[in-house]
């Protein structure tokens, strides 16, 4: 009894000490006043209307670095994710179209709440994608958020119900391919325009540069869209959401259906 009392007292003492430290501010974070040189460059060039040739016109600096300064780097990072999905699809080949006959799902209470919350999750994910050039977040984060809605629906309703509503392997594969195509096209959009107008341009070009005068408008009707950054975010979000949905649908195939399918394709035992 004595040791438990001691443990309880020490826990209380720790909680009080933490509360004191958080209130009075013992854990103050050291913020340097002077910016480092790299930070100076990024802060002055990420969104600066007075130097349009050196600016990415994206107020959110992380997104500016990810999709403008180092666009090709990010493209290959995205490609690694797609290779992982392709590898999973190859592992599950042959059983991806075998939907279960019935699915039970969870109780009515959980299903009703899921129906409300899944819609809200999709809305929040879309907001994260569409504000990718203004606030922290972007295509990948928003797409992963939307995929949470698919995961919730898979648990609450079961796979057969989703397949009934055309959220299946085929649809997510098509949507993912659409997103990838859009991503590649918006990476080359300045290049295509330059080929037509017979000037120079770079791959992943966003704003006009010195020897490449082609660039996308960074604002439409006063609304900041940051050129290709918004397009890349939208298509990346679509592709990531559909890719995660594809993975979740593949991984939630019931084992008995899969085993039956594999054994029959190998000609018995």
């Amino acid at each position: 009894m004595g040791s438990r009392l001691l443990a309880a007292l020490s826990m209380c003492a720790m909680a009080l000490a933490l509360a004191y430290a958080l209130t009075v501010g013992v854990f103050s974070i050291y913020i340097p006043i002077e910016l480092r040189p790299l930070a100076k460059i990024l802060v002055t060039s990420a969104y600066n209307e007075s130097t349009p040739l050196f600016s990415s016109m994206t107020p959110e600096i992380v997104t500016a670095v990810v999709w403008d300064y180092r666009g090709i780097d990010t493209f290959f990072e995205v490609a690694v994710f797609y290779v992982a999905i392709v590898a999973t699809a190859a592992l599950f080949r042959g059983i991806e179209r075998s939907a279960p006959r019935t699915s039970v799902g969870l109780s009515t209470i959980v299903r009703t709440v899921t129906r409300i919350v899944a819609l809200m999750i999709v809305v929040v994910g879309s907001a994260i994608i569409l504000h990718g050039h203004l606030t922290p977040g972007g295509g990948f984060q928003g797409g992963a958020t939307i995929a949470v809605a698919v995961a919730l629906a898979l648990v609450a309703y079961g796979l057969a119900k989703l397949v009934e509503h055309r959220i299946d392997y085929e649809t997510s594969l098509k949507v993912r391919s659409l997103g990838l195509l859009g991503l590649s096209l918006s990476a080359c959009i300045a290049l295509i325009a330059a080929l037509i107008l017979n000037t120079n341009a770079y791959v992943f070009q966003n704003q006009p540069k010195t020897y490449a005068p082609i660039g996308l408008p960074y604002a439409v009707d006063g609304v900041l869209i940051s050129g290709t950054v918004l397009l890349l975010n939208i298509f990346d979000g679509i592709a990531v959401a559909a890719g995660f949905a594809l993975l979740l649908i593949l991984l939630s195939q019931p084992e008995d259906v899969a085993r039956e399918r594999v054994l029959s394709s190998e000609g018995g035992e």
């Binding site: 039970v104 969870l106 109780s107 209470i109 959980v110 709440v113 899921t114 409300i116 919350v117 809200m120």
Partner: protein, 124 residues
């Protein structure tokens, strides 16, 4: 005047919420089995998360120095509170249902179990 009242009520709500959290933690430690512990847990989420979030909304609404941003803070807190109010009972319900269907041992204090006839007789 009204701002001071809002901040006072909000602080009281946050304080009450922390008491609920303490009670829920004690309940998780002391209660004997899964179903009663889920009761303590849900009390902790509703009383210890929804109530303080409403308190946070009131405090933010009463904090004049924040300018117009206080309405964003208050709105976000209210929306989060409503979401938790919907999600926490559904989650607890799903856990309790899964435990019942997985035939987790029935507590000794159960006198009558109406669900047993339905579940074992009529299938799902």
């Amino acid at each position: 005047m009204i701002e001071g009242v809002l901040m006072l009520v909000g602080s009281v709500l946050i304080l009450v919420g922390s008491l609920f959290d303490l009670l829920a933690a004690l309940g998780l430690l002391r209660l004997p089995d899964l179903y009663t512990r889920i009761h303590a847990l849900t009390m902790g989420t509703i009383g210890g998360a929804v109530l303080p979030l409403i308190g946070v909304a009131l405090v933010a609404a009463g904090w004049v120095e924040l300018g117009s941003y206080r309405w964003y803070l208050a709105g976000a807190a209210i929306v989060t509170a409503i979401l938790i109010l919907m999600l926490a009972p559904a989650g607890s319900h799903a856990i309790a249902r899964a435990a019942y269907r997985a035939r987790s041992p029935s507590p000794s204090y159960v006198v009558i179990d109406e669900l047993a006839k339905k579940v074992r007789g009529g299938g799902r």
